[in-house]
Amino acid sequence: MINIQDIRDTAKDLLAKGEVRGVIGWKAGTRGMDAEPVVITAPEQADELVWDPTCYHNLALYLVEDRKFLAHARKNADKPIGIVAKGCDARAIVVLMQENYFKREDVYIIGVSCENTGVVAEHKLARQLSGFAASAAAFAGDEFSFTTAKGEKKVPAREVMADRCLECRNPFPKEHNATLGEDKTGRTLAAPFAALAKFEAQGGGERWDFWERQFDRCIRCFACRSVCPMCYCDECVVDSIEMKVLPDTTAEEKANRIRWIERSADRSENITYHMTRAMHLAGRCVDCGECERVCPVNIPLRLLNNKMEREARERFGYEPGASIGGPSLVASFRDDDPGDFIR
């Protein structure tokens, strides 16, 4: 089990020696038990850092934000930035480096192992605490310990863990500068792609009925896009912000600009948006499950991304986030790729 003080000491040490310009981590949040992301820039702030089962966020997102901020300010970073990373965060960082979004020396990864646990799923926890809200959560071996108004309650981690963590095989950050906790790579708490296999057992008609219901609900808040570390495009295909409207731009030009997807929350547009997103994430999604967690209308987005992930693994032997130097899924091919569907 990871001692929280070790994370703080590592961060403090790095900042005091001036090896990094900041450390991205989690601190205690203001909403009940939930942690929230934080960037600390001074050694004395290191004691704010926490590590508990509510550290849901994929912090790789903030590396992207940092990069965008620097690019905007036309600055070059003189030192790397430190980041506390879970297994999934580290995989996301590897994918970003594979795509040359930043270089390996630009980031100092303090890897934390989830060991035999992961992060909490709020809806599962609610059933366990019989209506009482938890004010704090902590790791306790293979259990989670929650502080509620009725005192401390211990719950086996397996029962309240998020599905994405149960299905996770790599809870240990393979790419790292320093690590804390035991390497439990290859652990199996639940069968990988369990939810996907169950869903796929249905016929095409039922699958359509299901997705029709899901996509009808989408309100196009773009939370999934905002929270995704892989959705870093300056101009998303959904919104054509780059169209320059000048005094002499005619109404026709404005009307005829290419719009692949409308922004209206119609079913057809929602489907196109989510399908496009799934395609853009194929071979890049590291299954951190953040899109599904932040969705305000609970669309099971992980299913789409898992489908792509499993296709990549089974048909093309490709695993996202495995190596920095390797080619990406859709920019590479093998002579023996399946082609039996082609006439």
């Binding site: 009925d209 295909v237 692949w260 489907i271 496009t276 792509m308 091919f333 082609i342 006439r343």
Partner: protein, 143 residues
């Protein structure tokens, strides 16, 4: 379309400039009879077909989408069709996954000398699409 008129599937065919487009041309100049349901769109290479093209075609009311390129190994750009094969396999799987009928999306390799094959591909596609009826799932509700 009035009730009396028989349903005719609309196919959008993305044909690569070097092979399939010339193949469809050959079918024409050879006077091979084949259904007129396919609207050909010439693209530089099957590898240039973005998933957006396919989704967009369905959104605009296509009943079926065909992507056709050079045979493996014959790509004018060396590896375009290898990339297309991988990418469009994912698109096909994704369409099937959300419950769109599998027969609505098709890929074929048609060389410039295979006019007869192109005619056959379109013929088969139309026959497979007919029982499925109009494609309403991905079609835009508002235009």
């Amino acid at each position: 379309m009035s009730e009396q008129q028989a349903y005719e599937p609309k196919i959008v065919a993305f044909l690569c400039k070097w092979c399939s487009s010339a193949g469809s041309d050959l079918a024409g100049v050879s006077r091979i009879q084949y259904p007129a349901n396919a609207t050909p769109i010439t693209v530089p290479c099957s590898g240039s077909v973005s998933p957006m093209y396919i989704l967009s075609a369905f959104k605009k009311g296509a009943d079926g989408v065909l992507v056709s390129g050079c045979h493996i190994g014959d790509c004018h750009y060396m590896e375009g069709n290898f990339l297309a094969r991988r990418k469009l396999h994912l698109v096909k799987e994704l369409l099937g996954f959300i419950g769109v009928e599998e027969n609505r999306f098709r890929m074929s390799w048609v060389s410039a000398a295979e006019g007869g094959k192109y005619a056959q591909v379109v013929k088969d596609f139309v026959e497979d699409l007919r029982p499925l009826g109009p494609q309403e799932k991905l079609k835009a509700q508002r235009t």
